[in-house]
Structures are given as structure tokens and as C-alpha cells.
């Protein structure tokens, strides 16, 4: 079974009649099933007949001259997007058996563009985690080394794209949940600006930070997908009503690498990030090589400071749990979700249903959030964290006045062995480089830039100004025309 090609290669094959949606969907399905025991990337898969029927309809539409940008492309959704065709669990026992009566806007828009969802992917429960180890369904695994994490929280989506099961998948990113798994799995991942993509139908974790994101095997492919999902949605008042550029058209007009297309661009590097404790030397070396490549492509490198950046982790781990404790209050065993069988009264029913339904990491974050919002602590923690959030945001904004993009690591280490992070603080510290842009609401993209000595992928993060996804995609696209890192496939993809 050969690996499925990239999104744009598959679109070309479909357009030229060299492939059918039916063959692609069948192949994606077979690969998902074959790799499931190794990767545990999926929580649910569509019935083969169901996706085959959708593929047949796509082929018929194509035969009738219907044009849709993603017609017949198999994709996967993080199991945090609600879907009517498949169950939605958020990787929690709390939502076992839940079937949404509506589709998330992102799901709806990708389906309208012709994509066919073959399954729902594994994640950290309610998106709370950096390694995809906190799933009720067990950890997802890294295609480059299945004893290691794929990164979290959108680990199943990243693993499925990296293993060439599907050419693209959705994710969500609250503090790094698209960028970290993209880096650990050697693929391209985008967290758009907060407000760029509708959050309607994404099960809420931390509402001032959550944003829909995308995984694919190149920036070009992400551009094709973002064009479909971006834009205002009347059902999400935090989705911003501003024009969506034609991203693929913008990338298509860029000069080739030999013409040094980045002349006039300023790319900022952050020396304090590179000097941070515990950054793996392979990552520093790969980032230095990526910096040189960007320079060769014409960019001017400027040094930037992010004075409050190290405060981002404590601020985030106050704000996100606070919002989570509020959002997850809805799971009360009354309207939907798990209800315990062991209760005498209403209060016990709430407490016991939640005790049985939620996993340990979720309980811990609910308790942290409850504490920082509770009487007597609100000012010292929650309000303080919101003030620090502004300091962090101001730091990023002024850095992005001196440059067009910031280039940073995504993670301090490559993918760690499953179970290796001994305590929560160790895992929270993994978010050092991704949390700042989340607090500031900025768009950020992770793209592969090499491998460590053990053969594990390394990613770089580029961070842009609000709603400037086009520039992030352009930079990564130019980089990817000049390099081959994004083309590497894990040996396991060649089944």
C-alpha cells in the first residue's frame, strides 16, 4: 500500500483523471485501519460503505463538471470538532456515545468544498496536553518512532498526516496544540490568528485562546485549506469579519527561490529563546541552518527582545484552566454526557458523574481554574495573569514592529518517550515557545527544518502579525521550495 501523496498532488491526479475519489478514500481508509494498532491515531472511523458512497458522489460530481476546491479529498478531523456523521468524544469518557445534532462550521465548510472526512482523530482529553498522552483512548503515537509522543493535543491528526493516511487534517490550538504535534511529526501546521476561523462546534477548552488549525504536508496545501475555512461566521461572534485573501493565488505569484523572493523582508530572531534552559542542541543547530536559508532567500535577520516571554507559561496556566473550569461546568450529567449510576441526590450526581467522566489531567486543570477564580484569590492570580497577558502581548506586538515575522523553535526537545514526563510542571514547560503567540492571539506556523541525531523531526515556528497568515504561508512556501525537509516520510508510511 503506497503512501497517499500530498493534497496538491492528489488534486492534480484527480483533475487529470489519474485517480478517483473512490480510490483515494479507499486507500486512506485501508491505511488508517492498518496503522491503527501502531499509531492509535483515530478514535472513530467512518463505515467504509459510508465514505465509499461519499467518494462515489464526488466522482459523479466531477464527471458532471462540478468544480469544488477539495472535491474527493479524504481528510480527518480532530475529535474536538462536532460532527453529525461520526461520534464526538473530545477523547473523554464524559462524551462516550455523544452524537452532535449539528456540524462544526469548519467541518461544514470543508465538506462544502468537497472533502470527505474518513474519521475523527485522537487528542488529549478536551485538548488539555502537550503530548497526546491524556486520552481516554490511550496515547496516539509518533509515526517516526511509535514509542514516542506525536505531540499534543492534536496528536492523532498530526500522526495521520505524517503517516500519509490523509493529506490533511484539522486541529485546534490553544497553547500550541497544532504547532507542537506538527513539529514532532515533521509536517506543516498552522494556528491562524484568533478570530480568523470560526470556533462554532469546537468543544470549548479556553475560549479566549482556542483557535481552529490545520495540518498538511506543505504550506501550499495549508493555503488551499485555509482559504476554505477562514472567514466570518455569524454563529461565532469572535470570528472576525475581515476579508479572506486568496492564499493560493498569493503564493502562486511569488518569485522562485533563485530570485531571492524574501528581499525586503525582516525576520526577527529572539536570542533569549535560543539561550533558554534545556533547548536541545540539535534544535538550535537546525534553527540556525533555517535562519541561514531564510537569509539566503533574501530576508534580513534582526535580533528582537521579548521581555516578558518567560512569564507566558505561568500566565497561560492560570488563564486557560480558569476558562476551562468555567467551560467544563456544563458537563453535569443532566443534558448530555456521562451520568453516574451511583448517587443519592442531585449534588452527588454532579460530583460523581464528573469524577467518573473526566480524566486526571482535566480534573487537575478544573481545580487549578476553580482555585484562581475563587473568592480571595481572583486578584492575585486571575487578574494578575490577565495583566501579564497584556505585557506578553505588548512584547510580541513591539517585536513585530521591528520585523515582519519572528523565527523561533516550536519545542525545546524533539518528541519524548511516552510516559517520560514525570510531573505536570515538566509537561507545561514544553509549551515555552508556543504559548506567547497564543496569549497574544497571533498567527503562527510550524514547518519542518531537519532531524535530530535520533532521526526525529525538528520544526521551526514563524509568528506573524494579526491576520497576516498570507505572509506566514508565503515565507514557509518559499522555504519549502528551497528545501526538502517537508517531503520526508517516516519509514512506517511505506506499508
Amino acid at each position: 500500500m503506497t503512501p497517499l501523496s500530498s493534497l496538491s498532488e492528489l488534486l492534480a491526479a484527480l483533475a487529470q483523471g489519474k485517480a478517483t475519489a473512490q480510490s483515494l478514500v479507499a486507500c486512506a481508509h485501508a491505511r488508517a485501519k492498518a496503522l491503527q494498532p501502531t499509531l492509535n491515531a483515530f478514535i472513530s472511523l467512518a463505515e467504509p460503505e459510508q465514505s465509499a458512497a461519499a467518494a462515489r458522489r464526488a466522482d459523479q460530481r466531477r464527471a458532471h463538471g462540478v468544480e469544488a476546491p477539495l472535491l474527493g479529498i479524504p481528510i480527518a478531523h480532530k475529535d474536538l470538532f462536532v460532527t453529525t456523521d461520526l461520534p464526538t468524544t473530545a477523547a473523554s469518557r464524559m462524551l462516550l456515545g455523544y452524537r452532535s445534532p449539528f456540524d462544526a462550521t469548519v467541518v461544514e465548510r470543508l465538506a462544502a468544498a468537497g472533502a470527505i472526512a474518513i474519521g475523527k482523530t485522537n487528542l488529549d482529553e478536551f485538548a488539555m496536553g502537550s503530548g497526546n498522552e491524556h486520552s481516554f483512548f490511550g496515547p496516539a503515537r509518533n509515526p517516526w518512532d511509535p514509542t514516542r509522543v506525536p505531540g499534543g493535543s492534536s496528536g492523532g491528526s498530526a500522526a495521520a498526516v505524517a503517516a500519509a493516511i490523509v493529506p490533511a487534517a484539522t486541529g485546534t490550538d490553544t497553547g500550541g496544540s497544532v504547532r507542537q504535534p506538527a513539529a514532532h511529526c515533521g509536517i506543516t501546521g498552522l494556528k491562524p490568528t484568533y478570530g480568523r476561523v470560526s470556533r462554532y462546534g469546537i468543544i470549548a477548552y479556553a475560549s479566549s485562546l482556542d483557535q481552529a488549525g490545520l495540518f498538511a504536508r506543505s504550506a501550499w496545501d495549508i493555503a488551499l485549506l485555509l482559504r476554505q475555512i477562514a472567514g466570518h461566521d455569524p454563529r461565532d461572534s469572535t470570528s472576525v469579519d475581515c476579508p479572506v485573501p486568496d492564499y493560493p493565488a498569493i503564493l502562486a505569484t511569488l518569485p522562485p527561490p533563485r530570485d531571492r523572493p524574501l528581499v525586503g523582508w525582516r525576520i526577527g530572531i529572539v536570542p533569549s529563546f535560543l539561550a533558554a534552559d534545556g533547548v536541545q542542541s540539535d534544535i538550535l543547530a537546525a534553527l540556525e541552518a533555517a535562519r541561514r536559508t531564510y537569509e539566503q532567500l533574501g530576508a534580513a535577520i534582526v535580533e528582537c527582545t521579548l521581555p516578558a516571554a518567560e512569564l507566558a507559561i505561568p500566565a497561560y496556566y492560570i488563564i486557560a484552566p480558569a476558562e476551562a473550569s468555567s467551560n467544563l461546568a456544563r458537563y453535569d450529567g443532566v443534558r448530555y454526557g456521562h451520568r453516574t449510576e451511583r448517587y443519592d441526590d442531585l449534588f452527588a450526581m454532579y460530583c460523581q458523574s464528573r469524577a467518573e467522566g473526566f480524566g486526571w489531567e482535566v480534573k487537575r486543570r478544573i481545580l487549578i481554574g476553580t482555585f484562581v477564580l475563587s473568592h480571595g484569590y481572583y486578584d492575585a492570580y486571575y487578574r494578575k495573569a490577565q495583566q501579564v497577558r497584556r505585557l506578553v502581548t505588548d512584547g510580541y506586538r513591539s517585536a513585530l514592529e521591528q520585523c515582519d515575522l519572528l523565527l523561533t523553535p516550536v519545542t525545546a526537545t524533539t518528541a519524548w518517550p511516552i510516559g517520560a514526563k514525570a510531573n505536570p510542571v515538566e509537561e507545561y514547560l514544553a509549551d515555552l515557545f508556543t504559548i506567547g503567540p497564543s496569549l497574544a492571539g497571533l498567527p503562527a506556523l510550524a514547518h519542518p527544518i531537519g532531524f535530530d541525531a535520533a532521526g526525529l523531526p525538528i520544526g521551526a515556528q514563524i509568528i506573524g502579525r494579526p491576520f497576516d497568515e498570507a505572509r506566514l504561508l508565503a515565507a514557509a512556501h518559499i522555504y519549502q521550495q528551497a528545501t526538502d525537509w517537508h517531503r520526508a516520510l517516516p519509514p512506517l508510511a511505506h506499508l
Binding site: 454532579y350 464528573r354 487537575r364 481545580l367 482555585f371 495583566q387
Partner: protein, 95 residues
């Protein structure tokens, strides 16, 4: 931050979470460790800094005040662990 047994019980009560005695012990330890990280903010000077609740404080699109959703009561009630006659069933709360 310190967290004695009573304080953790109060917190679990507020969060509507039942914890077993063993879970309580482990949770208290982990929370104290996490708050060692979070308490780093106490030393930061934030005098006069306006709290930031949201990245898009200045933008809030409004929609037309028209009915956009259809009646989906039955579909929603079908998700409930216990429902009857169009109502959610819960244990008796009034004697």
C-alpha cells in the same frame, strides 16, 4: 500556595468533583507543585497594567436580530441521560 485537606475539599466542592482519599493526596501534591510555577507571577510588577481578557477586545461583530435556528428540542433532549415529556429528569431537589 499551601493546600490543606479542608481547602482541597472546598475546592473540589466548588468544582463539583468527587475525589477519593488517595486521589486527594496525589492531587494536593500536584497542585502545590503547579502553583510553585504559577506563583512566579507574584513578583512581576503590573501596576497600572490594564488586564487583557481577550485578544480582540476592540472587535465585536453583531448579527441581525432574526431567528436563524430551527426548533431542535427533540434532537437535544435525545442526548440527555434521562428525559421525559420534554423535560430533563434529575433527582428530587424539593421535599
Amino acid at each position: 500556595m499551601t493546600l490543606d485537606a479542608d481547602a482541597l475539599d472546598h475546592l473540589a466542592h466548588l468544582a463539583r468533583l468527587a475525589l477519593t482519599p488517595q486521589e486527594r493526596e496525589r492531587m494536593a501534591e500536584e497542585l502545590v507543585a503547579v502553583f510553585t510555577l504559577l506563583d512566579r507571577l507574584a513578583a512581576v510588577s503590573t501596576d497600572g497594567v490594564e488586564p487583557m481578557a481577550h485578544p480582540l477586545a476592540t472587535m465585536q461583530p453583531l448579527r441581525a436580530d432574526i431567528v436563524a435556528e430551527s426548533d431542535c428540542r427533540d434532537a437535544l433532549l435525545a442526548l440527555a441521560p434521562a428525559a421525559e415529556a420534554g423535560l430533563y429528569l434529575v433527582p428530587k431537589v424539593i421535599e
